[in-house]
Symmetry: none
Subunit: 217 residues, 4 copies
DNA sequence: CATGAATGAGCGTTCATTCAT
DNA sequence: CATGAATGAACGCTCATTCAT
């Protein structure tokens, strides 16, 4: 249906003025995506808002998908870069702080561009063409799996992939909802503490291995 | 642009033949939503696929949003009905089993119509117009909050709303990802056990009350 | 480049008013082809001239090629029908009258719709997509070959295919030019006589077989 | 729309590098005319194929018509030059050889650049703007008329203009079709002999002067 | 009520052409 | 003179919607 080629920019901007044109197009795309939604988004409108002729738009992007894809790609790449960096700093920390660090890192990432994040996850279909939007979660899952495997003696959960899955996608569900909350509806500070607590408890060897029986002794 | 009125069917089908027409339209809508995506969806195509004239389609639905909205509404209502029923059964159970029951209930709900669920959460924007798609989560959050408040003496977390938030949206994040997993990629049985463990531990009074500091003494 | 499908009408007009729409479109196509040329021809203009909405045009024809193709096809079919009929009448005639009859028939055919004929052969590219425009000449070549073979004892030329080729395409070249002549530039009556003479002489067994030597004894 | 001025190159290339640019543009034009057809032809594409910037193209030609016109003009001029030369050699020959010589000359001309010839007569509209493409035929008609008038005592046909018309356009029709034949479909050697025979017989005083009636006594 | 022909606003996209660098 | 970024008129075509039959 939509070739890989259709997602790819048509030509790289070489001159500075071309770079500015591209920047204006992406900014306008983000704005209109917010105001109108993905479906109503259209190239004529984007060009007008960007103060650029429709012809120039088509010099650089073959269609609106490609523009949105560029937005997604930029964001995903920046977010994954941050995740990787955080993980490098994490190797030295005790496991209980790791849990909290992941929570904080995911929040920070979301805060990097909260509007764009909200926008893209609200408006875009979660289809293959925008896989990168969620794709960085898979990469994060890989990192967390590896880290948990490295620390398997310090933690409880048997299979690192499963534990990482629960942590990454569970936290993502919470954070995504936080991104949709209206101001003051929920206390995000408290939420962060509770999410950390949940993750820490989940990873902890303490408590009991035989779960509920021991829980309420 | 999308008034509340625009979402509402034009008239209720009274005769049986009319009921069949509506059914055919909704089935065709679901099929084409899957095959083409929300954006490409169009009324002429839906009518053709349903074996119904375009004029007849407009007898029952004023536009394509209304068709999709009907799909969403049906599903959301059926899902919330199940949730309420489960909760009625839950009041008698010990708290640790409540956690597990919620997990199981959410999975069951997702399994009710897994394809339609995947379809709708993949293809539709998460905007106000399709709020019902996520809206039942809010209602679930209300139910869980109430239940946790009722049991606040049995559990650890201080604020029931916060705890319910963490549980509901965390689990939803995990289950949504499970819905996207390819066959055999992850062991869903193990996942269910681990998610239950996580929720149970999170609610448990044991371990530490003063959070992580006390956890690893 | 251009699929066979692209040439084919989208749907057959069933109702009378649809038939009128199609007729108006083809008439407008012919007019504008004359006024503007094939390259400048465009669907919006055709629809406007036909007094029909652009949407209706696209209900019946997928693009301008298909419209022009329909024009070509109609003409080619009518012309070939005439040729076949003429040939049926010709079987009884002596060979020298056959030559004249072919000349007259080709002229009549051209006179059937002289403007449309001029138009199409002036404006259209002689590519595969409009092959039918010249295609009927091939069919005519087949008929003439067969007739000459049937009469091979009455005529001179050794190979009927070659003779038919010379006659058909030679005459076509002359008639095509006649179609382009401005009024009064050349005496078409005289031309017809001379062309007949040429063809008759060409087919005749008389004169000499060893050509030029005997010609001017 | 297409002023005479629009057909004319903007400036003559003086330096050698400029001459190469023009050459590259015309070569690219011919290639793309073949690959895409006249309608799809466009200046951006021509410039790209020629390895020249679009700005440079517009230094030399004001539009795509001018490029194609240049191609036509070159060919027409070269072809007419050959015709004139042939005719100069022809004045001494006996009339029967003249007929054969014209056939041979027309074939040679067509063979001069068979691809370009096929291309241009296939792809271009036969309208005033490319009149030169057929225009040399008119000039040829003039030459043949004059030659036949000069020799009117040696030949049969009453009016030299009519005879020249029949000969020139008849032969052109045959030769044009030969240019479209697929390899091996028809024996071109035999065709040339038969065409010569036809023309010779047509011009010959023998046989009958009073046309067909006398032919088969 | 069902049908499907007709409508036309409006988005998608191209490409001839200009002009600052 | 060459370059190629930018322009925007204008054509291609779809699809939601209406309405006569």
């Amino acid at each position: 249906m939509s070739d890989e080629q259709e997602m790819v920019p048509r030509k790289k901007p070489r001159q500075r003025r071309a770079q500015e044109t591209v920047e204006a197009l992406l900014t306008a795309t983000a704005q209109l995506l917010d105001e109108e939604g993905y479906e109503q988004l259209n190239t004529n409108q984007i060009a007008r808002r960007a103060g650029v002729s429709i012809g120039s738009l088509y010099q650089y992007y073959p269609n609106k998908e490609a523009l949105v894809f560029a937005l997604v790609e930029r964001l995903a790449d920046r977010q994954y870069a941050i995740v990787k960096e955080k993980f490098a700093e994490m190797v030295e920390l005790p496991v209980e702080e790791v849990a909290r660090e992941i929570v904080v890192a995911l929040l920070e990432i979301r805060q990097l561009e909260p509007e764009l994040n909200r926008l893209l996850s609200e408006q875009l279909p979660r289809t293959a063409q925008f896989g990168k939007l969620r794709g960085w979660l898979e990469r994060l899952h890989g990192l967390v799996s590896a880290e948990l495997r490295r620390r398997h003696q310090e933690i409880r959960p048997p299979a690192p992939e499963i534990a990482a899955y629960v942590i990454v996608y569970g936290m993502h569900g919470i954070i995504e909802q936080m991104g949709m909350d209206k101001e003051g509806e929920v206390d995000h500070g408290q939420l962060v503490r509770e999410v950390s607590e949940m993750m820490t408890r989940y990873l902890s060897k303490r408590s009991s291995d035989d779960e509920t029986n021991a829980m309420f002794g």
